[in-house]
Assembly symmetry: C2
Homo-oligomer: 232 residues x 2
């Protein structure tokens, strides 16, 4: 009778709280073991194992055996994008798990969103790039301008190599903490990778939070100025 893709199947996979916690944890972009995921999800290893099988069978996760460990990661960036969109929608509908207050300031300031920067700092990047005319924001669609290509090139990023047909270069990713968009896509990833490489920032272990060094912060603020208040 009905024809079409089975959206309920995938939605059900994401819909279980334990599985949603696992997927959210994997948004850090790193592969995690079954034991680690069981802990973050708050269930026993037996339960986690069952969940992970389902997620893998559903095509949301990939598994990599390494010795006696099993590392799980999101299947690809499309899954990550879907989760981001879901989080963005949930935020605008007021579905927050806890108070949206300044619970974890570090997370709200700078955190990883699959493979790029989110939070206050992430939003600032996009705002700044739009202000200087590097990115054209047509509604929710982002385009890197000629000016932007030059700017990015000056930073030592080769646009050609990060431009693939499998992923958008620029992507507006709605931020649940800021309720504004930050920069995703392969450019978002490249910029973040470079900050790590330059030693401006480091990932906090066991968390999605990103810790900027003192110098990293000032360099960051200088590189991405914004018109409004500089109350960073």
């Amino acid at each position: 009778m009905k024809e079409g893709p089975d959206i309920a199947r995938i939605a059900t996979l994401i819909g279980d709280p334990a599985r949603a916690n696992m997927l959210t944890a994997l948004m850090c972009g790193q592969a995690l073991t079954a034991t680690e995921l069981a802990q973050t999800a708050g269930v026993t290893l037996a339960t986690a194992s069952a969940h992970l099988s389902k997620l893998e069978e559903g095509g949301l996760l990939t598994q990599r055996k390494q010795g006696r460990h099993r590392y799980f990661a999101l299947a690809d960036h499309r899954v990550a994008s879907l989760l981001e969109d879901l989080a963005g929608l949930a935020a605008t509908r007021g579905h927050l798990r806890h108070r949206p207050g300044p619970k974890d300031p570090a997370l709200r300031r700078a955190r990883i969103c699959y493979d790029h920067l989110a939070g206050d700092f992430g939003v600032r990047i996009l705002d700044s790039l739009i202000e200087r005319g590097a990115i054209l924001s047509e509604d929710e669609t982002l385009t890197l301008t000629t000016t932007g290509r030059q700017f990015v090139c000056d930073m030592g990023i080769d646009v050609e190599t990060i431009e693939t047909p499998r992923r958008p270069l620029c992507r507006a990713c709605l931020d649940w903490s800021e309720r504004r968009s930050h920069l995703g896509g392969s450019l978002g990833k490249a910029l973040f990778d470079q900050m790590l490489a330059k030693g401006w920032a480091k990932r906090e272990p066991e968390s999605r939070a990103i810790r900027f060094t003192r110098e990293g912060t000032s360099r960051f603020l200088a590189l991405f100025p914004v018109q409004d208040v500089d109350a960073a």
Copy 2:
């Protein structure tokens, strides 16, 4: 402990088969009554009513009273986008409810996708616009070029009026039947609206299928030529 939007809540809402059927039915862009939705979902009115309350409370649906009828529709295009993405992902993961064979040829040829054209015809629009340089396809991000603006303008569509900050002008929407992208966004809607207005095509009642008239088909194929085989 955990902070962030509750993605599980929204995913659970979509994850129930009956609710997923309702949401899919509403992708036709029309508002439907509770009774109609109950039928398409295959449940009694009592059950449907409970589902609809949940969907509304979750912010996915809006309700409009009209006499003794209650019309339900998707809350906004963001919800529609999410459902589209979900369907696209489900399709690439091979989660089809039935054989992906030519079950309903009419649906595969031309059907409505929230408010724009999908299926073989929908894919053709985007392919053709890219070929003639009207749309620049940078990865998965679409931009209307100057050439494109002129072309659309010649068709009698005023780009200024359909350009809103709330919705992208062009959006690549992965097609579950074609496994290729078709054109969504406000331009996709505008083009489709015009085809209906010109009498090229009509919606089938009780279905997402679009029936093109004989003349409408030839006009359509002429307006959107593609290099490859014209085996439409």
